[in-house]
Structure formats: C-alpha cells, structure tokens
C-alpha cells in the first residue's frame, strides 16, 4: 500500500473521538450496510457476483502456549462489504485511500474491535486484551470501489493456570454480525499443548445475527507433561510467542 504519511503521524497525540459519537457512527454505518445488502438481495440484482460478494469471511485463530492464549480474528471483506467500508474510509471523497484515512478508520473502529470479541475457557469468560493495533490490508488497491480487503485484530489473555485435556476454548465474534459470514477456525498448541479446532455447526452464518455471536470452538487434546502454573508475564521468557512476521504477512 503506497499512501502518504499520516497528516498527524502520532495517533497517541490525538484525543480519541467521542465514544458515543463513534458508536453511533458505527451503528449507522452497519445499518446502512445492512440496508444496502438487503436492497441488493430484495432487488435480486443478480449481478456479476451474486450474493457471495456480500459476505465477510471470518477466520479465527487461537494459539495456546504455557503463558498466553493468543486470539487473532481476520476478516476478509468481499466486494459489497469492502466497497461500503472503503467508502466510509474515504473521508475526503477523492476516491484514494490514504494512510491517514485508513489510520483514522482503524481508530474509529478500535473500541468496537476491542469489545466485540470474547473468549470463554471451560465456559468461563476470560478477558481478552488487544495485543496491538489492528491492521488493515487493502490488498493492493488503495482506492474506493469494489475489491477485497482484510482487517486483522490481535488479542491475548494469560493462559489459564489449570488446563485439562478436553478443556474447551470458545471465541465469540460479534464483528459485523449483521452481515453474512463464511467462517473458519484454526487452533494451534505450543510447547506441549495440542489443540483441535471443532467444526462449526454452521460454516455460513445467516444475516441478522445482531447481538448474537458467531461461535468458534476448540478443545485441548493434550497438555504439557508438567502443566506450567500461571506466571508473572514480565518474569519469564517468551518462547512460543508469534512474532509479527509470523502473524502478519502483509504484502508489499
């Protein structure tokens, strides 16, 4: 993505916009998207892409190591939703998506990204923390209009102290819950953990799931020979943690 430097290249110095306004804007945005997709469906405008273009692909990854549970949610927006979100990013309406605009978009949706993904371990909710700022990959097309783009959000939680074989991990994803989704999950265990992603009961979710999460599940097949107890994060090594290069193969 070739974009000019951010007009204000230090997001940390920007006061976050009013949260209420942001949520209202987002809700309105979702509503408009839903309406747009509904109109497409109702009008039966069976154009080039039919309705597959209106889906968002949700890929949820979970990696368990002795110290952390890392959760990655990657959304690939197909044509309809991508076009809508791109239009939303293009605040100056020039058709070009600059870094300043995509950064602002990410800041705008940050709070929703933070709260819309939940983790339950053995049926108990575990607080997820954003591991770093979310990333937006316009997949080589920094412009408005139809295309695909990819949004990746990173989270983590401390690994539970007691994990048994068969323990369940459930990720609840409420992101763009009113848009149809194609869903899949990947699970990976490290340093002695073995995990299995459980097949989704419904790989394609219908629209209208507002406030109902898409559920992704995995279970622990094996634990390390000596299950490590909870440790103070700052006091031990970080073997088993993914590096940026492993988790975010952004294309240049």
């Amino acid at each position: 993505m070739k974009t000019p430097p951010s007009e204000c290249p230090c997001p940390g110095f920007i006061l976050p916009p009013n949260r209420l306004r942001r949520k209202t804007t987002l809700s309105l945005s979702r509503l408009l998207l839903t309406l747009a997709l509904w109109m497409i469906l109702v009008a039966n405008n069976a154009g080039a892409h039919d309705v597959l273009a209106a889906f968002i692909q949700h890929r949820v990854g979970i990696v368990i190591s002795p110290k952390y549970v890392d959760v990655t949610v990657q959304l690939t927006f197909f044509e309809e939703a991508s076009e809508h979100e791109r239009a939303h990013m293009d605040t100056n309406r020039d058709g070009i998506l600059t870094r300043a605009e995509t950064d602002a978009y990410l800041r705008e949706i940050a709070s929703e990204l933070e709260t819309a993904v939940k983790l339950r371990v053995k049926d108990v909710e575990v607080a997820l923390t954003p591991l770093r700022n979310s990333e937006l990959d316009l997949l080589g097309a920094a412009r408005t209009g139809r295309g695909h783009h990819r949004l990746t959000a990173y989270y983590f939680a401390p690994a539970p102290a007691q994990l048994d074989e068969g323990a369940s991990f459930v990720v609840e994803d409420r992101l763009w819950s009113d848009v149809r989704a194609i869903a899949s999950m990947q699970a990976e265990g490290k340093d002695g953990y073995r995990l299995q992603a459980l097949p989704s009961l419904d790989p394609v979710y219908p629209a209208g799931l507002k406030n109902r999460p898409r559920v992704f599940s995995a279970k622990v097949l094996a634990i390390p020979a000596r299950s490590p107890s909870a440790v103070t994060p700052l006091s031990t090594s970080t073997s088993g943690l993914k590096t940026v290069s492993e988790t975010n193969p952004e294309q240049k």
Binding site: K2, S6, N44, A127, P130
Partner: protein, 727 residues
C-alpha cells in the same frame, strides 16, 4: 523488602505514573501513547533491539495493555492504584530498554540550535527502517510517540519526516520509514510540538548495497525445475515481496473476487500466508539481511520454509525441493479442482493458469466460465477436447458455472463441448443438466457445503430424478454435509466433489477432489469417467482410503440377504502439518465407528471391522485432522435386492424438508408473478424472467412432488420386505 526500599519503589512508581500518564488523567482513560509506542517498537522496530530485549519488549507490551485494560475497568481507587503500579512498572521497563538501545538518537531541543547526536549517518537495513529518537525539550515529563513516513511519496518535499513531541520533558519517538531509496538519502527530521515552532534537523540515512537471490524450486518427482507457490519475507520488517516472476492473475479475474496474483490459501497456519505463483527459477535483487523463503506445492508436498542471508553485493543461490509426503497418483488417485474461475483467451492466459495448477500439484482444473441471467464472465476460447490445455499430467478443461441464481442455487458443469445457457429458460436448471449430459458432461451444484444461494431448492427439484452427478461438499476448508446427507438418505446417489472457487477462494487445489483411475493412465477423459462413477474423495489435507469388501467409493454393492461386510478405512496426513487425525465411518449420517491417531504417533488412523448389510444403506469415510483440515469420500452404496439404500426410518422428516423446499420455489414464483402483474418488474429483468418462466418452473415442482409421492409408495411397498429382513 525493607521500608526504605519500598518507599523508594513507591516514589518511583508514583513519579512515573504522574509523568507518563498526566495526559491520561485529563482524558479519564489510560494513556494511549505508551501503548501505541510499546506495540510499535515490539512489532515494527524490533530489529533495533537484541533478541533478549525483543522478548522483553513483547512482554512489556502485553503487560502495559493488560494493565491499561485493568485500569479502564477498575471500580475503585484500590484497583486503579494497582493498575497504575503495573503500568508504571512496565513503563519503567520500557524506558530501560529504550535507554539501553545502542541505536537511540538524541535530539536536544534545549540548546539554541537543535542538536542531533550522535552525528553522522544512520544505516537502515533496506526498503524500510526505523528511527528511535529521544527528544529532550527541557523540563519534566516523559511522553511517547510513534509515526510512519513513506519516502516513496513525493508531496513536494520527499525527505521531510514529521515527528510529534511534547512541548516539555522527554519524548521517545519511534519512526517507521518506508520506501527508503537505495544508498544515501538526506532527511529532515521535523520535530513538531504543540504551540511551538517546529525544529528541523538534517539526518543522512544510508542503505547497504542490495544482494541477489537466485531461487530454483525442483519437482520431487523429476528433479527438474517446476512452478511453485513462493513467498519471500524479509525478517527485518516482516513484510513480503513479490518474486520477480510472480504471475499477476488480476487481468484474468475480470476484476472479480480477490483479483490479484498474491494468494492466501484457506488453509491453516503458515499456509495461509501470501504466496505468489512463480513459473520457474528467478533471480532478483533483495535488501541484505535475513529472508524467509516459503515454498508450497499443494497438499501432497511438505511446505518448505528456509531462512537465507542475503549479503550486500553478493549472489545467494538456493535450490529447494519440497518433499512429497504422499503420491496419490501412484495409488491411482488423481487430483482435480471443480471450480476455478479464470479468463483463458490466449496461450499466455492458459500458460499462467497451467503454472498455477502445476505449482499446486493439481492434475485437472475445471476452468469455469461464469454466467448469470444477464451476462457471462471469465470468457474461454471454446469448449470440448480441442480447447483443453495439457502439459504432461496436468490439464485445464473449460467448463461452466451457470445457471447461477441467488434464489435456487449455483450449478457447475464439467467436460462440456459447448456452453449451455438460455436466459429465457434460466430457472429451468434441468434443461441445462439434460443438455450437459447429452454432451457427455457432468453436472453438479456448487456451495452445497454451505447451502449458499438456496441451493436446496433446485436440489429438491432435480436430485431425485438423477439429473445431477456431483455436489461440492468442501470449499474454503469448510466441509459441510447437511444437505449432502439429506439427499443420500433419500437414496439419491451423489458424487462428493470440491472446488476452490478462486478468485473468491484462496488458491487452486486448496480443496480438491481425487478421482480413482486405478491403473489407467491420467488424461481428462479417464478422470471424468472415474469421477462420473463416483470414485472420489474430497480433501483439504487428510488422505483417505475406503473399502467395503472390495467396493470403492461410488460403487454399488448388491446383497441378496443380510450378511457381514468388511469395512476398511485409513486416514492419514502430513506429519509436518498436523499432529492428530480422526477417522469416522458414517452410515446414514451417523458415526458408527471412529478411530484417532495415538499420542506422539504419526497422524494416521485405521479401521477394519465388519458391519451387517441389513436392509442396505450408504456408508462413507470422513476424516478431520488436528489442524482443522478435513476429507470425505463419496459413499459406497449397499443395496439389498428390491430395496433403496435410503434412511427408511427418517423418511417422513426427509420428505417434509423437500416439500418445504418445493413450497419455497412456489412462493418465489408467486411473488414474482404478483410483482409482474403490478407492473413492478420493468427494471428487474431477473425477476421478470422468473415470472415468465414460472409456469414451467411450477411444472417441475409438480413433477418433483409426484416423484416424492412415488417414493412414499415405494416405502410402503418396501415395508413388508424390510420387516422380513430385520426378523
């Protein structure tokens, strides 16, 4: 800890909290600067630090973020103090790491003239680089900032690098530089402070002379160079670069789907990273440093990941040979992808797609021209054997995905001699199925795994009359069998298939169907013949073998009386991709036996048992690997004389579902007719055509209903015999 030490520590914590988070107090929420800074240095600027400090930075980032979240959710002062203490401790560690960084540049803004130390040039690693600055504005307080400057953009002054700093105190600033030119570039660091004039400092950055990489990927079968899926990732910034001969497929995708040559497979782990299809060896300049080369050659090969060091001015040669962990063709099974969209109007177009299927080791690709009621996409030169494009044991065969409607489903056709498409009969899918069969082709439904586009409606019309040969039950690495099992349970034979649906899917062959040719040589005709017999299994990872007595998937095993049948199955996978394997035998949709690979063993499971033939059934094998990939065979049909192999006990429920599907088709037609009668379809050609074709479609509904009524009568006739058989 003694009292004085404790008080000292508390004083430090309070001091840090008050300096670093003075802004936070104003905002009533934790400071975002430090969080963003820590995240950026941990993930984008980590090359500036030692291995030990990199790990520490990751921990600090996590701790800061967890503590900040705790602060936000704190309900009382006590909790806030604890959070503040955590934040202060982590910030302290962050500052210690920054101070110890040998590449930290000091900007002194307290003097009359701003000064940058150490003086001289800063060497950047290559395409991108990082600057870590300690900006001293005088006074108390510590702040953080992080920013990005793309030097490839020229907004009048390309070398200006804006950096935000606090008006007082010390600001630690991390600047990510992108698009850095080769050799020497003079930048102007533009330090911007609120309500103060900016301070500009010249800084010369250099990049080392690039090196070169010559990469050749060899086929494990022939030892000769082969197309492959390749990724090049620079460890310094974690970003990938396009191989110099990476094929750009965008022009062949008609701006549809993910219209690009860079492909991320819908597969687990590193296989999901971005890869380019390279048709052969390449030689390109690269920035010096550590590079990860990733090579993927489809599911039958182990993926190769190798780090190489590119040195300035030197040529690095690598020859990689991804090892096969299985060769299914040697067992008589040949792979195909039933759903590949790509325009092929020239030999160049064909060579590009051929390179792709060879790279992914797919032997046959059904290259589908796509249509809807309005027009067509992904044009082809023609159809039939003379338009096949063959290279050794790989062949591209033009087919079609048409008709496709969101109302009654998408269809596929393979091995056709002409495209079958008539908008005036567009909703009458049976006319297409009949024409395809008359051409010697095979018809099927797309997206059955997910039930997209109401495909159950047309399946209810045309599957029971045996007009359809196959269904896609695996796509986007999602195995979906609900609809498949419903029709098998009605005693309808359907071949299991799989298609990637690129460019909406990730890459060709990420899911695939294997057809069993036994000893026959591979060619398109033999593949289609085997596929037409139902001798298939689909997979995104595991391999399957399945026999009932000597019967194979798709076979019908006739039994005169109830007897024992021997069931043998094996599921196995690439040990490098998955650590476990679960094998299940499914009869009438129910798992009757399963096996899992053992702890610490190869990912392989086997079953060998007997089952009573009873009154007949369909029986299939399916596998799920620990990495989330899966496989499924076409069933073997156990047919007792005079009986269907259906799920007799569930017949009423199954027929109710089909009746509901038929009613939905009727409602669809009724609605279209009503709108048309009201004159509201003048701009909606699709629905207008549906209204016009309504009578004919309703005739099909009536015929299907008759057929289901016939099945009910058959069930009544079977009742006595089944009772005898079960006694």
């Amino acid at each position: 800890m003694n009292i004085s030490l404790l008080s000292h520590a508390l004083a430090l914590v309070v001091a840090l909290a008050s300096t670093s988070f003075s802004v936070a107090a104003e905002r009533q929420e934790p400071n975002a600067d430090a969080l963003h800074f820590a995240s950026e240095v941990a993930h984008r600027h980590s090359y500036l630090f030692s291995d030990e400090n990199r790990s520490e930075l990751d921990e600090v980032n996590r701790e800061l973020r967890a503590a900040a979240q705790q602060m936000r959710s704190a309900r009382n002062e006590n909790q806030r103090e604890r959070s503040a203490a955590r934040i202060a401790a982590a910030t302290h560690r962050l500052l210690e790491i920054m101070k110890s960084c040998p590449r930290l540049l000091h900007v002194d803004l307290t003097a009359k003239e701003p000064k940058l130390q150490p003086a001289g040039t800063v060497e950047l690693p290559g395409y991108t680089g990082s600057l870590l600055l300690r900006i001293d504005s005088g006074g108390e307080g510590t702040r953080f900032s992080a920013s990005t400057a793309d030097l490839s953009l020229v907004p009048g002054e390309s070398s200006l690098v804006p950096v935000q700093a606090a008006p007082r105190g010390v600001t630690y600033a991390a600047v990510a530089l992108e698009g850095v030119p080769h050799q020497s570039t003079t930048l102007r660091i533009d330090v911007r402070r609120p309500s103060m004039p900016s301070a500009q400092l010249p800084l010369t950055v250099t990049t080392p002379l690039p090196g070169r990489l010559r990469l050749t990927v060899l086929s494990d079968d022939t030892g000769e160079p082969t197309p492959a899926m390749v990724r090049l990732m620079w460890r310094t910034d974690g970003l990938q670069r396009r191989p110099s001969n990476g094929i750009e497929f965008a022009p062949q995708f008609d701006s549809q789907g993910h219209a690009s040559g860079v492909r991320a497979a819908n597969l687990p782990g590193p296989l999901n990273a971005h890869y380019w299809c390279v048709p052969g060896a390449f030689d390109m300049t690269l920035a010096p440093g550590q590079w990860q080369i990733g090579v993927r050659r489809g599911v039958e090969h182990e993926a190769v990941f190798e780090d190489v060091t590119i040195k300035s001015g030197e040529v690095t040669e690598r020859t990689l040979r991804p090892r096969r962990w299985v060769q299914m063709s040697a067992r008589g099974w040949w792979s195909g992808d039933d759903h590949v969209h790509a325009r092929i109007l020239s030999d160049d177009d064909a060579r590009n797609v051929m390179a792709w299927i060879k790279a992914e080791d797919v032997h046959l690709a059904n290259i589908v021209k796509m249509g809807d009621i309005y027009r067509t996409y992904f044009e082809q030169r023609g159809f039939g054997p003379s338009y096949r494009f063959t290279d050794g044991d790989h062949v591209l065969v033009p087919g079609q995905e048409c008709p496709r409607t969101p109302d009654i489903g998408h269809t596929l056709a393979m091995n056709i001699t002409a495209m079958v498409r008539d908008p005036e009969r567009y909703f009458l899918y049976d006319t297409v199925f009949d024409a395809v069969r008359a051409q010697g082709g095979l018809s099927g439904y797309a997206h059955v795994n997910s039930g997209l586009f109401q495909v159950h409606r047309d399946m209810s019309l045309n599957v029971p009359s045996a007009k359809v040969d196959f269904v896609e039950i695996l796509q986007f690495n999602n195995l979906g069998t609900d609809l498949y099992y419903e029709f098998l349970d009605l005693g309808c034979k359907l071949t299991a298939s799989a298609g990637s649906d690129v460019p909406w899917g990730g890459t060709v062959g990420e899911v695939r169907a294997y057809a069993f040719l036994a000893e026959q040589p591979f060619n398109a005709d033999n593949w289609f013949a085997a596929f037409g017999r139902g001798r298939t299994f689909t997979t995104s990872g595991p391999m399957l073998e399945f026999h009932v007595d000597d019967a194979l998937p798709g076979d019908e095993l006739k039994v005169n009386k109830s007897r024992k049948l021997r069931v043998r199955a094996r599921a196995w996978g690439d040990p490098g991709r998955t650590s476990s394997m679960k094998l299940e035998i499914v009869r009438h949709g129910e798992v009757i036996r399963s096996a899992e690979s053992g702890e610490g063993t190869e990912p392989e499971a086997r079953l060998d048992f007997t089952v009573d033939s009873e009154n007949g059934f369909w029986i299939a094998a399916r596998a799920r690997a620990g990495d989330g990939t899966s496989a499924h065979t076409t069933p073997i049909y156990i047919v007792r004389d005079g009986l269907r192999f259906w799920n007799f006990e569930n017949l009423n429920a199954l027929l109710s579902k089909r009746e509901e599907s038929l009613r939905q088709v009727e409602r669809l037609v009724d609605e279209a007719r009503e709108l048309d009668a009201a004159g509201r379809l003048e701009t909606d050609r699709a629905r207008k055509l549906l209204a016009r074709q309504g009578d004919a479609l309703l005739q099909r509904v009536a015929m299907a209903r008759d057929l289901y009524a016939g099945l009910k009568r058959t069930a009544e006739m079977e009742l006595g015999k089944r009772r005898q058989g079960s006694e």
